[in-house]
């Protein structure tokens, strides 16, 4: 047996080690050390993503959508080396919404038309022509559109003010190109490996995965709920731990991955992502006392009384409350001695 394997045996965790508390302390203690997310410039990605304590809070709270969703899209085959092909794929992903193209719009309520002046610059940078935009609008919203230079005219066929207004709202929200919810997609190059990939400022990986030419097996986003929907809970668990690690790494705080995995596992062990707060793990504990001692004391006591709940005194908090030993660590074992052995011990 190799030396390291022998050693590894001595390195295993001890029975009844309170690993949950260790994990909580390992993340909680350095919380105060997290620095103001001052001017770090590790890369374009980290530049826009929320980081530091706010990001940790967001992750452990199981917030439905991250404040700054980001997706990383790797490319298949030659595209990962060829910037032009990559650009083409990025174009397919890049979400272009109508409101970003509009420079000015005028609703004519007497005629029942809307005139939209498109921004030349924006059109150019997105590689679209006014004609394409108009066609897309007609197809998407089933509108009667016509184009003249940079102006799209939409005939609404009604003079109802409300309808015209609503149509305008729909138009400005329409996705002209790319994938809805994918955000702005930009081609990036890994400075170390030279690999070309795409980063988009959205987390609709369910949409992005339908684009051909991308490496589906490496598709990633910082939105753990999106990962749960597309790849399942195990993937979400991994992503959660990975996101926590990335956030701590960026703050140069070293925390063993085991702690982060445990937090992720505790949050996902039921098959859905639960936050750690009163609406998640802590709020769903079996013990009435544990819930009451945490938050919303009165509410939990009242509910327990109404339904006739029983507290089986198995957890940590409950036992502390009544002054018993906690059932974890050294409190989980008992020392016993046989009666006949007891008799053997006699003073000289």
């Amino acid at each position: 047996m190799a030396k390291s394997q022998q050693k590894a045996r001595d390195f295993t965790v001890q029975y009844s080690e309170p690993v949950g508390i260790l994990a909580a302390q390992s993340v909680g203690e350095p919380g105060t050390q997290m620095i103001l997310r001052s001017f770090h410039f590790a890369g374009i990605e980290s530049a826009i993503a929320t980081s530091g304590l706010p990001r940790i809070v967001e992750l452990v709270d199981a917030k439905k959508k991250p404040t700054t969703p980001l997706s990383t899209v790797y490319l298949e085959g030659a595209a990962s080396k060829d910037i032009e092909q990559a650009e083409k794929i990025a174009k397919k992903i890049n979400e272009v919404r109508m409101d970003s193209l509009i420079r000015r719009s005028v609703e004519n309520f007497s005629k029942g038309t809307i005139k939209i002046l498109l921004s030349k610059q924006e059109l150019e940078s997105e590689g679209l022509t006014p004609g394409q935009v108009s066609d897309k609008l007609a197809k998407l919203l089933k509108l009667d559109t016509s184009v003249e230079k940079n102006v799209i005219t939409v005939k609404v066929h009604t003079k109802n003010l409300k309808d015209i207004r609503l149509t305008m709202v729909k138009i400005s929200k329409a996705v002209i190109n790319g994938i809805e919810g994918a955000g702005k997609a930009v081609v990036q190059t890994n400075p170390k490996t030279g690999e070309i990939y795409i980063v988009s400022a959205g987390s609709n990986i369910e949409g992005i995965i339908t684009v051909s030419g991308i490496d589906k097996s490496r598709l990633y986003t910082n939105d753990v709920f999106a990962i749960n929907r597309l790849f399942g809970i195990e993937a979400a668990r991994n992503a959660l731990a990975r996101e926590l690690q990335a956030t701590l790494d960026e703050q140069k705080i070293s925390v063993d991955f085991r702690h982060l995995l445990l937090i992720a596992d505790a949050m996902t062990s039921t098959g859905t992502i639960k936050g750690v707060g009163r609406h998640g793990i802590s709020g769903e504990k079996n013990s009435v006392f544990a819930r009451a001692a945490y938050e919303e004391t009165v509410k939990h006591l009242i509910n327990a009384a109404s339904f006739g709940e029983t507290d089986h005194m198995r957890g940590v908090t409950e036992n502390i409350l009544v002054g018993k030993q906690i059932p974890i660590g050294t409190g989980s074992v008992k020392l016993a001695i046989k009666k006949e052995d007891m008799a053997k011990i006699k003073p000289k």
């Binding site: 909580a24 995995l261 957890g315």
Partner: protein, 862 residues
């Protein structure tokens, strides 16, 4: 040590019968004391409710204030009221049952299927399982049933016609806190009680309610239980005036209204007046339970302070649960200021004599140690016995007068309380106790003086310094606790942090500087010097001298290393090579001697054990301190003086950076700037400027390294990693750099024209207009820079306060959610409800404290 064990706690509602059984007296006088200052019979401080004044005797149990547990009384309400805290449950039940036949608003089929689901327990009992196994199933199942029932409650509300008696259901409206309406007609509490009483036990079980302990009609109160006086003690002020507890005040209110209501009913007053009084009674009862109920004005004291009623006593950080039940207070503890003593071992604590003579350790007298016990008890001076608890449980204080007598009576089974002596294991703690190494076990060393003293190496886990910090000391009182302290909490087992397995108990600051100086290539000591510092460290041998009779610093350092230790690593100052316990190449810095991923300490800890590691830390810290005292190090203003070369480099760097930024601004104005992902054009420019300024700061460090002499003390400390960094040097001698705001951006607000100061043009985004400080502490800041720096300082102060609050709450939530997880004997992680969280801890079962060991071992294997 547990006399009686609470196995489980069942929650329920107090029924009227229970109220009558519990109550020792029916209260009917809405007052407390009579003119003579004597408690009124039938009043709220009736002596049958228990006594709190010393000397008085309880009329119920005959005990005195200290032993009387207190007894409940009750008030009979002339008209029933609803328990406001439960009105949501009442509402749910009213909605989900028929108003005519009171059956649950579900067809027989639905009911049947639900019944099947909740039948489990009976079926199990038939299968001849042991009672324990059934209990196990029940525990899990009540939970399931509870959820099934609760979700059903929601579903049933939309049903309009009763499937049993076909009665049409009128919509019931609920208005917080206690009003129920059918249409416009208000439901009286007695009507509600009738409706709730009509629900059958079977139907309640379907809804997840256990009717044995919780019949809903009990929520409509006829009799109000009055807590004993012990719960609401009155206090006598210095003036002799009595001041009653908030609860007593509220109960007086309830009784007054109750009495008035009774009088009005008897006098045959009009219905409107009776209803008004009834409502008022309801209000007082509501406020009595929870004075913060939404929808009612809080009852107030004469002074305007809101009364603290039952809910307020339980709730929140200062409530019964978090303050008294989760937070325990202890005896056998001490607290004082801490200070350093480098000659104490790292696992020792210096305890002032005054404290050591007050604190005690139990000495359990047995047949085997009777002699020793007598010897101790006979002593009249420290260390002696302070108290004796004999087998009959009586505790006596030992004084010279009774010593002789007690000596004669001393027998096995007695417990003596011995004063603290050298070598006792005690727990030492500094708040905030953020991680487990905030409490460690130390060996006592009784010393003169008034402060606790610790070795400098153990300050990092406590995060302590000596600018007035105080720490707490606890003496474990049972043999189990003493054993746990010794074998689990002792300092030598905590050198590596469970957070990442890296060293946390290490030498630091000047201790590292000393090693850095000692292990320089050209460090030579004469025989006198070498013996002097080695003597201080307690090493009484000399390494082999060099040809000219001097001793190399590296060789002296090597004396500290265990025999046979070999290490070959890279540090920030080049390679470090130790062969067979001798430092051959390299300099000791923070990388090998300080906090963090410290391979030298890891190696000693892994291969030679915690005792060798403890010895190394203690001996080396003494040696290091001795050498740094001997060689000396001074940091003065002199270190930060700049010469022309540095000044020129600084100017050039700033000019180049500003030009770069100006170029970007020009590009932006010409609309040629490429925007960054997720940013608008303007924000992209901002971002790019920040990046440029940041690069300038990095470059400033390089300039300093190039120009400043390597003998500069501040530089040396930065290089050794003992104190200070290049960044701080930059602030002294180059420039302060960009000042940040709370949101992490550059400073931009101030005047409404979007400029920071009036002499900046609106819209100016150049570095100097947005809080980039070009000057340094040595030459002094320019007036504008001072202003910008003040803005930045204030921002970071505010941010710090914000961050501690936020991270404190995050920590509380995390520890609350994860505290029940532990490792089972098969290395799986479970919670105390036996739910499986991980099949094997961390994927490999390796303890987090050993991860760095693991890496080192794996490396050695290759």
């Amino acid at each position: 040590m547990q006399a009686e064990v609470i196995d489980n706690v069942k929650f329920g509602i107090v029924s009227p019968e229970v109220v009558k059984k519990l109550s020792v007296v029916k209260l009917n006088v809405p007052d407390t004391y009579n003119e003579d200052g004597y408690p009124i019979d039938g009043g709220l401080l009736d002596q049958r409710l228990g006594v709190i004044d010393p000397g008085l005797i309880c009329k119920t149990c005959g005990a005195r204030a200290k032993t009387c547990p207190g007894h409940f009384g009750h008030i009979e309400l002339v008209r029933p009221v609803i328990h406001s805290e439960f009105s949501k449950i009442v509402y749910m039940l009213l909605q989900s049952t028929c108003s005519a036949c009171h059956r649950i608003l579900l067809g027989n089929e639905d009911v049947q299927s639900l019944r099947e689901k909740s039948k489990g327990i009976v079926a199990l009992e038939a299968e001849e399982l042991s009672s324990e196994e059934i209990a196990e199933h029940k525990a899990g199942e009540t939970d399931q049933k509870k959820h099934a029932g609760r979700s059903l409650l929601k579903k049933v509300r939309s049903i309009k016609k009763c499937p049993h008696c076909s009665a049409i259901q009128n919509k019931i409206k609920f208005s917080s806190p206690t009003y129920f309406y059918i249409g416009d007609r208000k439901l009286k509490p007695d009507e509600i009680r009738d409706a709730l009483a009509g629900i059958s036990n079977d139907d309640l079980r379907i809804l997840g309610i256990d009717p044995d302990v919780s019949r809903p009609e009990w929520l409509v109160l006829d009799a109000l239980l009055v807590p004993p006086v012990n719960v609401r003690p009155s206090i006598t002020l210095e003036s002799g005036e009595r001041s009653e507890d908030d609860l007593t005040h509220k109960l007086v209110d309830i009784m007054r209204i109750n009495q008035r209501l009774a009088q009005n009913i008897n006098a045959g007053a009009p219905q409107i007046i009776i209803d008004d009084l009834w409502e008022l009674l309801q209000y007082h009862v509501t406020a009595y339970f929870n004075n913060e109920t939404s929808g009612i004005p809080p009852a107030r004291h004469r002074s305007g302070r809101a009364l603290k009623t039952i809910a307020q006593r339980l709730k929140g950080k200062e409530g019964r649960f978090r303050y008294n039940l989760s937070g325990k207070r202890v005896n056998y503890s001490a607290r004082t200021v801490i200070s350093v003593d480098p000659y104490l071992d790292i696992d020792e604590v210096g305890v002032p004599f005054e404290i050591a003579s007050k604190l005690t350790v139990p000495f359990y007298v047995t047949a085997w140690n009777l002699e020793k016990a007598r010897e101790l008890l006979a002593r009249t001076e420290y260390p002696t016995i302070l108290n004796l608890t004999s087998t009959d449980g009586k505790r006596k204080r030992i004084i010279d007068a009774n010593r002789e007598e007690l000596l004669k009576e001393l027998k096995a089974g007695d417990i003596l309380e011995r004063q603290l002596v050298n070598g006792d294991m005690v727990l030492f703690n500094r708040q905030p106790s953020l991680h487990r190494v905030s409490i460690m076990a130390h060996r006592v060393r009784v010393l003169p003086g008034k402060t606790f003293r610790i070795n400098f190496c153990v300050t990092p886990p406590y995060n302590a310094d000596f600018d007035g910090d105080e720490m707490n000391l606890h003496v474990p009182q049972t043999l189990e606790a003493q054993a746990e302290a010794k074998y689990l909490l002792e300092v030598k087992y905590q050198v590596f942090s469970p957070r990442d397995g890296e060293a946390i108990i290490t030498n630091n600051e000047d201790g590292i500087t000393g090693m850095y100086f000692l292990t320089q290539d050209d460090t030579r000591l004469t025989k006198e010097e070498a013996t002097y510092i080695l003597g201080i460290a307690g090493i009484y041998e000399l390494p082999a001298p060099t040809k000219d009779g001097t001793y190399k610093g590296k060789d002296i350092f090597s004396l500290l290393l265990p025999k046979g230790l070999s290490l070959d690593i890279k540090t920030s100052l080049g390679p470090l090579r130790i062969v067979d316990g001798k430092l051959i190449e390299g300099v000791i810095t923070k990388d090998t001697y300080g906090k963090g991923n410290n391979k030298l300490l890891l190696k000693i800890g892994m291969d030679y054990g915690e005792d060798a590691l403890k010895d190394f830390l203690f001996t080396s810290s003494k040696l290091s301190d001795a050498y740094v005292t001997f060689s000396g190090i001074t940091v003065g203003v002199k270190e930060y003086m700049t010469d022309n070369a540095i000044e020129k480099a600084r100017q050039e760097l700033l000019e180049a950076t500003f030009k770069q930024v100006d170029d970007k601004i020009q590009q932006y104005k010409a609309r040629k700037l490429e925007s960054l992902i997720g940013y608008t054009k303007r924000a992209s420019l901002e971002r790019m400027i920040i990046v440029d300024l940041n690069i300038a700061r990095e470059k400033a460090g390089e300039v300093l390294i190039k120009h400043v002499s390597s003998k500069n003390s501040a530089m040396q400390m930065a290089r050794a990693g003992s104190r200070g960094s290049i960044f701080q040097y930059e602030q002294m001698s180059m420039f302060l750099g960009q000042q940040a705001t709370l949101s992490g951006g550059r400073i931009k607000r101030g005047y409404y024209t979007k400029r920071v100061l009036p002499h900046i043009n609106p819209g100016d985004v150049r570095p100097s207009a947005r809080g980039f400080v070009r000057t340094n502490y040595y030459t002094g800041l320019s007036p504008i820079d001072i202003f910008m720096h003040a803005v930045g300082s204030r921002g970071s102060e505010v941010y710090k306060a914000l961050l501690t609050a936020r991270s404190g709450y995050l920590y509380r939530r995390l520890s609350n959610a994860l505290q029940d997880l532990y490792v089972e004997s098969d290395l799986s992680v479970r919670d105390t409800g036996n739910n499986l969280i991980q099949t094997i801890y961390g994927g490999d079962g390796i303890s987090s404290i050993n991860t760095q060991f693991m890496k080192l071992a794996a490396k050695a294997d290759k």
